[in-house]
């Protein structure tokens, strides 16, 4: 039986929209609107979906870098949402983030050594000598060399900077890594280096990953299970194999169908999704996907479908599968 490391219950984030002369609250962006899922120890959960669907907001809420509007996050059974700031800071030793843009996320005026040492200092781990030793070790672990410690971020290529970002996340020996588009800014030949590194590290340190990305090929490659988001909602979640082979939700189906396949002999007749993604400040009623869904029924326009287990381990939020 797999052990649950992280559990998310009915998590919401509504960002206020302020407007008018007095900056009054005139509406809200439902960036994340009532999502629930769990992550097992040692697995990689992928989160996919199009721009603005709430992936990053979800990732940041798990670390409370963004405060949830509502809902619960449990890490090893412990509720994070009501921890004091000080206690939450301590918890972050166990959970770390890796960001998309290795350029923006590293302080350009600090040496790599200083960048990597910082999380240890923040969490009061080790003395000066031990810290330096760990920096050197960690550089080797991510495929750099100890002599890189004295260099500055601009002296590295994009792929190397992402390795530094990963090394920094691993300094405190966390259990969970939340990686938000960690390879999106990299060239394909470098991207595969970083993906392989992430897989090696997971095995070596028994890490659990939440891997956020919009590239469905990358997510399939790295994930054990995958969740699909649309307009702040989780519409489907199951194992990578099931999701890609037998998607249940019409949106997942359309999303997969839109991915260009690197095989020119395969001329697929695809059904294009029409229209744009609606605004999260004014999401459609009922099922948020109903304005673009081919299967849309009357009930879809009024009643929001709940995420339900349709087949063992396969959850989807769609009225097509409603059990009566």
């Amino acid at each position: 039986m797999a052990e649950v490391l992280l559990e998310v219950n009915q998590l919401k984030k509504y960002f206020p929209i302020n407007g008018g002369v007095f900056g009054k609250r005139v509406g809200e962006v439902k960036a994340v609107d009532d999502i629930s899922f769990f992550v097992n120890k040692g697995e990689t959960l992928g989160l996919v979906g199009e721009s603005g669907c709430g992936k990053s907001t979800t990732g940041r809420m798990l670390m409370r870098l963004i405060e949830p509007t509502d809902g619960k996050v449990l890490f090893e059974g412990k509720e994070l949402t009501n921890l004091s700031d000080g206690d939450m800071r301590k918890m972050r030793k166990e959970m770390q983030m890796v960001f998309q843009d290795p350029f923006a996320s590293l302080n350009p005026r600090h040496t790599v050594e200083k960048i990597l040492e910082e999380p240890l200092i923040v969490h009061g781990i080790g003395d000066k000598e031990e810290r330096k030793k760990r920096v050197k070790e960690m550089l080797e672990v991510v495929g750099l060399s100890s002599y890189h410690a004295k260099r500055y971020p601009h002296q590295f290529s994009g792929g190397q900077r992402q390795r530094i970002g990963i090394a920094r996340a691993l300094m405190t020996k966390p259990k969970l890594i939340i990686a938000d588009e960690p390879v999106s800014a990299l060239d394909v030949s470098i991207q595969s280096q970083v993906l392989n590194l992430l897989e090696d590290l997971q095995e070596e340190f028994q890490l659990t990953y939440i891997f956020i990305a919009h590239d469905l090929g990358v997510v399939k490659h790295i994930s054990d299970r995958v969740g699909v988001m649309y307009l702040g909602r989780l519409v489907e979640i199951t194992t990578a194999e099931k999701l890609y082979e037998k998607p249940l939700h019409p949106y997942t189906n359309a999303l997969l169908g839109a991915v260009p396949v690197p095989d020119p002999t395969l001329k697929k007749e695809r059904e294009l999704l029409t229209g744009d993604i609606p605004s999260p400040s004014n999401p459609p009623s009922g099922c948020a996907f109903h304005t673009r869904c081919r299967e849309c029924m009357d009930i879809c326009k009024t009643e929001r479908p709940q995420l339900e287990e349709i087949e063992p381990g396969h959850f989807a939020a769609c009225h097509l599968y409603k059990k009566n």
Binding site: V188, Q191, S192, G257, A258, V259, P260, P264, L273
Partner: protein
């Protein structure tokens, strides 16, 4: 059946000049595009894709950049030495370009209609009313709903996909024979990308516009292009029909690139990865530019620059690698 190509680039060399000297961003690149054809240019960041396309538009910022050699024949006319006045006639009428981020090429202060009409008036003798009609037609052609209304809207009121449609409408409004699209879908979501690619293919068929599609996404290439050139560090390293490139890649770089991409259809146990990094342009002065990352590197690769060779037993397939010397030197 030999018809003169719409675009024939011969030994194009474009450099940037700085305190460190000359950096040849595009180094003796040759290729041609036939009427109504879709040619793909692929390669990783910094390999010279955008500099190639900006050179063809004669939009390289000078200084620091300059076309220092070669020819660019557009419908037979060498435009390398054409005046800016002539280029203004050519741009839009004969060749048009769309960029990755439509927001940077649309003026936020003017309505979509204004910008479209302005473009049409510059290039044709159309009056205001006629230009308005034509603009609306173009917006409808690229599949925008409520075209008349959009004419009065500003760029920020449209979504990314809609803005890219407007850019395509603008680029095609004077029926150029050649459209250069530099990463036209990279900033878009996959479902919107699929719409835009379908649109480009459709317009290519309807209007017989030749397209140069620049991308780093091999899936996009497979889906829309007929022929492909692969660039690495400012050089063309391989050229072939699209099926040939995917089925029978010859250059170790092309091969590595294809193997590195995770596929939505099947899970590879472990991804292939090309060791090392993409070199800075101008940093390799001697030998094959891929040598530092190549598993087949041998002595000669470090001292001599490989020319383009024909691939034995294949049609229209050339590769810049000593391993394929037996095919004989390719002309051009």
């Amino acid at each position: 059946m030999t018809q003169a190509p719409v675009l024939d680039v011969k030994q194009l060399k474009t450099s940037f000049f700085s305190a460190d000297g000359e950096i040849p961003a595009v180094d003796e690149v040759s290729f041609s595009v036939n009427k109504g054809e879709i040619l793909g240019i692929v390669g990783e960041s910094g390999c010279g894709k955008s500099v190639t396309s900006l050179s063809i538009m004669k939009l390289i910022p000078q200084p620091p950049g300059k076309i220092v050699g070669g020819e660019i024949l557009l419908n037979g006319e060498d435009i390398v030495h054409s005046s800016e006045k002539r280029m203004r006639e050519i741009r839009g009428n004969e060749v048009a370009m769309i960029f990755q981020e439509p927001m940077t090429s649309l003026n936020p202060l003017f309505t979509i209609g204004n910008q479209l009409i302005e473009g049409i008036k510059i290039h044709t003798k159309a009056g205001k009313k006629e230009a308005f009609q034509r603009a609306v037609e173009m917006l409808k052609l690229v599949g925008l709903p409520r075209a008349e209304q959009i004419m009065h809207e500003y760029p920020h009121q449209l979504s990314g996909g809609m803005r890219q449609r407007v850019m395509i409408a603008m680029a095609l409004s004077c029926h150029p024979k050649l459209l250069i699209a530099d990463e036209p879908t990279t900033a878009l979501d996959v479902t919107i990308q699929a719409q835009i690619l379908a649109l480009m293919k459709d317009l290519n068929e309807k209007l017989d516009t030749a397209i140069v599609l620049i991308t780093h996404d091999l899936g996009v290439v497979a889906e829309v292009c007929e022929r492909v050139i692969v660039m690495y560090a400012g050089k063309v390293v391989e050229e072939a029909p699209v099926i040939e490139i995917f089925k029978n890649p010859k250059h170790p770089y092309t091969h590595g690139l294809l193997e590195s991409v995770p596929d939505v259809r099947e899970k590879k146990e472990r991804l292939y990865s090309i060791p090392g990094n993409v070199p800075k342009p101008g940093s390799i002065r001697k030998g094959c530019r891929f040598a530092a990352r190549c598993e087949f590197v041998h002595e000669r690769c470090l001292s001599d620059t490989p020319p383009l060779y024909k691939v034995e037993g294949a049609d229209q397939h050339t590769v810049r690698c000593f391993l394929h010397e037996s095919g004989g030197a390719a002309s051009g």
